[in-house]
Symmetry: C2
Subunit: 561 residues, 2 copies
């Protein structure tokens, strides 16, 4: 039997102490998927060849979301993994669906994205670096379209594209602020038409959203074709299909759309696919992965990024609305530490018990519970325990949950693996066996875009109103004129507050949500509303994590985790 390093050991030491099963074995024993239906990438990773897989179960879906997180995260991925291992340990056939990490943050702020402690997905090094190439394929497809646009303008510009009104930017899977605003096409007539443009991080690409929302290869190509790349000189929107780019983009993505399979530390299946950030995009694992997992497992645990105001809201209003995949139960992760931060403490003050700060901060938990209840999902609150939590603090949280009519369980999967999340797993099992959920959508397709944004802001964020700046107001009118008013909205804002100001803690009220830009994603099928100072291309910090990352003498990575 594997002896794991003690709780609190570095994640990477724990991950390396576990010998993974060959991925063929995980697929066969846990999902009933035969070896010929796997495309191996090394011995412990694979893509699922969906054409070879008969996924006919009617699995239930568990959505894991969270309170407003600290910059270190609330442990949603960790909890999703721990809960999946716990479900399996109590006899429920379960798999987990997660998002792929972006390279950008790996080299910015230290930290991988494969869970933590004894609840991790492995091999974590590969997951955090290139993985099976999906993000690189998305980057290539995105930038191929960009190259075709500039090439079209350079030659005869038959479509009469207006270089000033090209909205399709380029992307890179990197934190690189210097690329946010660029001039391209400089150097003279042999080098294209000069124009303003810029780069976003790959996870913010419309193609990432399209990959995550497509039902199959054909749907993927249809959506890619629907992308609006800008306007012609008469103001008419021009699509990627008119440029003839959709076929080649689909070819570049033909492998990337197959979901990836790895395993948890307890050898349960982890389908990792797609990875938009929930602050600047819709932030959910791919529809194809979730649907496949639900066809192969009795219960599927999946996560939606950041707090429930971002990830869960978008899961329901975008992913559920477009795909029909609705959660059967929601788990809301919270920590004593984060609630104390919401109560005003600094990061350095969280190790000591502080009931006062906690009682100030619990309004954040209350708001999130209430929000999930508005969606028709009375959550199971999972208190993700840290060694520094006091009994009084835990009791105070439980009282709040019970007062709100929510269920609450403690979880110690970070220290103990699946064993530590058994109470949450039992609660999930009970709900799935005994309750029928009807998910409420807070807005209808038919409402105009600004009303949809206002609904989310006032109903969920506690805002008094929404304010569109002049540019955004113009974009709003254009989107309505073009007939895209029926789309759902994807609000891009800071994940650290219900408002657009990271410093407004707890459960702020009466604030105004400032919308500075609207981006129509006609292919993905939603409108992004960029609020406050959120960036679609992050920057690196003064001392990037990259400076400490290297290989040791044995060729093992140090400094990444």
């Amino acid at each position: 039997m594997t002896v794991l390093p003690p709780p609190g050991s570095p994640d990477i030491d724990i991950a390396r102490a576990v010998k993974p099963w060959p991925i063929f074995e995980v697929a066969q024993r846990k999902l009933g998927v035969a070896p010929h239906a796997l495309i191996p990438y090394g011995h412990y990773k694979a893509k699922l060849d969906l054409a070879q897989i008969d996924a006919t179960k009617q699995g239930k879906l568990v959505l894991v979301t969270a309170i407003t997180p600290t910059p270190a995260g609330e442990g949603k991925t960790t909890t999703s993994i721990g809960l999946t291992d716990a479900l399996n340990s109590i006899g429920v056939n379960a798999s987990v669906c997660l998002r792929e990490p972006s390279l950008g943050p790996c080299f910015g702020v230290k930290g991988g994205a494969a869970g933590g402690g004894r609840s991790q997905a492995i091999p974590m090094e590969d997951l955090n670096l290139h993985f099976n190439g999906d993000f690189h394929a998305i980057t290539s497809a995105h930038n191929l379209l960009a190259a075709l646009i500039d090439n079209h303008i350079h030659w005869d510009n038959e479509l009469d594209l207006d270089p000033r009104r090209i909205t399709w930017r380029r992307v890179m899977d990197m934190n690189d602020r210097a690329l946010r605003h660029t001039l391209v096409g400089l150097g003279g007539p042999a080098h294209g038409q000069p124009r303003e443009s810029g780069f976003d991080i790959t996870v913010a690409s419309e193609i990432m959203a399209i990959l995550c929302l497509s039902e199959d290869r054909k749907d993927l190509q249809r959506r890619l074709g629907n992308i609006i790349i800008g306007r012609d000189t008469s103001g008419r929107p021009v699509t990627a299909r008119e440029l003839g780019a959709d076929g080649a983009m689909t070819v570049l993505l033909k492998d990337a759309i197959q979901p990836n399979l790895i395993q948890t530390l307890e050898h349960n299946p982890a389908l990792i696919h797609g990875g938009p950030f929930a602050n600047i995009a819709h932030g959910c694992n791919s529809v194809m992965a979730t649907r496949t997992a639900m066809g192969l497992s009795d219960v599927v645990v999946t996560e939606a990024g950041f707090g429930a105001d971002l990830g869960a809201e978008k899961f329901i209003h975008i992913k559920s609305r477009i795909s029909g995949l609705e959660p059967d139960v929601a788990v809301l992760v919270c920590t004593v530490r984060a609630l104390k931060m919401q109560g005003g403490l600094a990061k350095t003050e969280l190790d000591e018990p502080n009931l006062d700060a906690l009682s100030k901060g619990v309004v954040n938990l209350e708001r999130h519970i209430q929000n999930m209840q508005k969606f028709g999902l009375n959550p199971i609150v999972a208190v993700n325990r840290f060694p520094t939590d006091s009994a009084q603090e835990l009791t105070a949280i439980k009282e709040v949950c019970l007062k709100m009519g929510a269920r609450v369980e403690e979880a110690t999967h970070w220290a103990e693996g699946g064993e530590g999340a058994k109470a949450v797993a039992e609660a999930v099992k009970t709900v799935l066996e005994t309750e029928e959920v009807n998910v409420n959508y807070l807005y209808e397709d038919a409402q105009p875009i600004d009303e949809k944004i206002r609904t989310v802001a006032t109903e969920l964020y506690g805002a008094a109103d929404v304010q569109f700046n002049i540019a955004a107001q113009k974009q709003l009118d254009e989107i309505h004129e073009l007939g895209f008013g029926h789309l759902p909205v994807c609000i891009a804002k800071t994940p650290y507050s219900f408002s657009s100001e990271a410093s407004e803690l707890g459960a702020p009220e009466g604030h105004v949500l400032p919308v500075r830009e609207l981006r129509l994603m006609a292919g993905a099928g939603f409108v992004v509303a960029i609020c406050g100072d959120v960036m679609t291309m992050p920057g690196l910090p003064k001392k990037p994590a990259a400076l400490n990352i290297s290989l040791d003498d044995d060729g093992e990575i140090v400094g990444l985790f």
Copy 2:
């Protein structure tokens, strides 16, 4: 037994008619490499885990080069593959080492890069699209360094970098002329320092050259650290090591430096690794792949890009010089068609016999034979036959070769596979068994950079002189002042003429080679001399191949090959 489509069928139809062996079988039966030493990427591709491989043979090396090619190529890759299959068919244990294709040209001018006809490497779709991710890893490592540079300047700029003198650009594996000259860092103080920069295609990255020239992981990191990214305000060159970037870049490349294994249509091992273009870079397969293949096979066939003036010259002056790997024999591929083009015919006039044009064009062949003889490599000329070649034309070529003292054989591997290259294989076998080669280097390390360029230009290109423009002259002086005058040179110029003008056919003499820019690649270990109007970022043509590429209803790629 496999029935292949008739000669002249589309490459993709021939490739798809052959059922590949599982890659484990190719490795075990043909290279003696055990399954645990392979990292599979799907069922028919793998990376070699060099730490697990005992490569102790002393294999011989066959360098395949060519006359000045037509835009369709002379069939070097096809001949390398056909020759390898032929060697195996006559009882010689042989493998082939090739370069990885770039995505850029795939979407520009139609055509993959996996050989052709019955001499192909398979699976060709995967080889042409993303393959095992090496180029994406190089792109990431290159752009991480760029992001770290701009980030360093944005914060305190402790190294006092001069934003005007940063020479490290960004790269993308795409033909995108609009990125050649850019301004980055626009938009205000939150978005970096505005400065001029631009993008090259990934194959032109110094990191591609470093990957191809490194002996192992440590040597890779050492060379990455040696990259000079620009100057500080005092004019002192600053390295990637000083920025602290070399460790993280090495981590991004840890899988990419392992050679890839696929197979020929006749199930012989093809090690495909690294892929710089020989017009703008050094254009050879990686040292690690070549050396590993020579340790596992009795004979290794490898190619060097474009004509012998580019690829073979760089193979010897750069790859052999740095690694010590010297060819034991050279094969010079030529076609009747290309020699008729060198004699002045248009592409549309090549199907008819034309002895006049041919006799005008053979001066090109003569110059290439003579050049190879100067290196101490009396070549075996392989006439890569086309159905349109006439007997008289073939005889005329043979007479020229014999007059020059070179051996010559016809080859029909494109139509017949390995069987068609048996005569070349027998000639290669005889030379390897009976002759000792001493490779001559035409210049010494100690000669200054300009003399080295002049030597190549006058000795091999037939030039009367070399002219440095003012910028290049300044760069030349700087390189000498910095103490890098001992490095070899890598001349970037058109592949379609011995001169820097694509229109100068045959064997031009008395021309002047105009050097417009010198790029010091201190990590790779050479100086690039950019001549004439050659571009390090290609553009797309008016009707890019991308517009015809798509998936058919069965999910198979159409239009790419």
